[in-house]
Symmetry: C2
Subunit: 267 residues, 2 copies
């Protein structure tokens, strides 16, 4: 099993990814896809008169401020649009894809961060109406049933809390949790850069390999959204995934490229 | 198995429906839900600057004009928002609901109506870029696998064509097809009226029972959207479903009420 995370940021060539996934699946490789949806959620929520807001936590991570209205827009865009269109595209390439989010059958149960300590104008403040969560449990049995039935799961970044609230979750870290639960041999994070760059956005500073013992040190130079992927990589390694690749999702055959070592390989 | 169709038109008390479904499931009754989403798609597509348009076919049926942009909005609203929020609400009542659309795992395969003959300003015209379909096949094996795993399917009104195009389908007729495929003993159509009215919108003209041999005659007086439900009922009867109820979705315990004969019962 290989878990592929497709970034929400524009630039990833979805057609190339789906064609390549279909080719690998024909060769007998099982694949599970996890996707994001930030860029499109920003666009549509702005069009709907509810523009995105972002929070910076005290530890320096940035995340979407997800009040209930934002959560519903996020569900609409990720689970309704991006997920359905990905499944449709894969089906067109002959892959029997099956879309779901973590809310369905409680596939991903997350703890709601009911209080988020943020920094705003240099001051600490607490946010209490945020519907963001951190995945704590993946229902591997249910995913494995779908996979055994010949389906390719395509997972949208929503989870459910033990209290039954739908939550926005980080897709990179969700991909890591899913990979751990499915005992995947690799996770490929597809982005719109060639891999992890020492000096973002300088493509020539691509780091080809990182020893897994040293991956946490990359947090110091990983830019913005890449920080979450590095965190995801750390979590996947802890869960026993042997190989993580940060790869370019804009190129042809991005998955076969990543498996051949193109990008940043952590192992 | 009972199939419940929840109308897209506003007025249905979703909380009462979910609470009642949870109660019936606790008593051992298997339920599959099919939902619509017209009213909310109209609102959101208008907000997104792509207001809804409707076609009237030469045979007098009205349907949404679904160009590709409308299809994507329809997927977003039905599969992303309405479906996710229904699943969330059912989960909160202890039902292990699982949302999907007919695109997922090719659960519903539909024939695309690639040319639609319509009446516009009294003239016949042909529409060619419409992504609407008529369900021809339901993957009962996959639905039964989900049901056997203790899940309650919640189905959004999208299907896939043999060519791999996502299609807008009529949820009433989809409910009939699903009921036939699952060999359901009953289909309950929940609406915002007490049942089939001889003189719409006069509530006192409710028809309590219809003999199944005479249901087609109801097409002559069924108003607008009720026509599709009557068609759905005819199709479900043909597929061997023994009992159809058109019931009020605004009341408390709407499902138990319908099963006890409240509404219009066709059998």
């Amino acid at each position: 099993m290989i878990v592929v995370k497709i970034g929400g940021a524009s630039g990833v060539n979805l057609d190339a990814v789906c064609r390549d996934a279909a080719e690998l699946i024909r060769q007998g490789q099982a694949i599970t896809i996890v996707h994001g949806g930030s860029a499109e959620t920003n666009e549509i929520s702005t069009q709907l008169g509810h523009p995105p807001r972002f929070l910076t936590s005290v530890s320096g991570f940035t995340s979407r401020y997800t009040d209930r209205e934002t959560l519903e827009i996020f569900a609409m865009v990720t689970s309704g649009k991006i997920n359905t269109l990905l499944v449709e595209r894969l089906q067109r390439y002959g892959v029997n894809a099956f879309g779901l989010s973590g809310v369905d059958g409680r596939v991903m149960v997350a703890k709601r961060k009911d209080t988020v300590r943020i920094i705003e104008n240099g001051r600490q403040r607490i946010i209490r109406d945020d519907y963001t969560g951190k995945v704590e449990q993946v229902n591997a049995a249910l995913l494995n049933q779908l996979i055994a039935a010949g389906l390719t799961p395509v997972i949208a970044p929503l989870a459910i809390s033990p209290e039954g609230e739908a939550l926005n979750i980080d897709a990179d870290r969700a991909a890591a949790m899913v990979a751990g639960a499915l005992k995947a041999e690799a996770v490929i994070f597809l982005t719109n850069v060639p891999g992890l760059l020492r000096h973002y956005p300088d493509d020539t500073s691509l780091i080809p390999t990182i020893d897994k013992a040293k991956v946490e040190a990359s947090l110091s130079f990983a830019e913005g959204r890449m920080k979450k992927k590095v965190l995801g990589a750390c979590e996947a390694l802890e869960l026993g995934v042997a190989r993580i690749v940060f790869a370019d999702g804009r190129i042809d055959q991005p998955l076969q490229g990543a498996l051949a070592g193109r990008g940043t390989v952590i192992s």
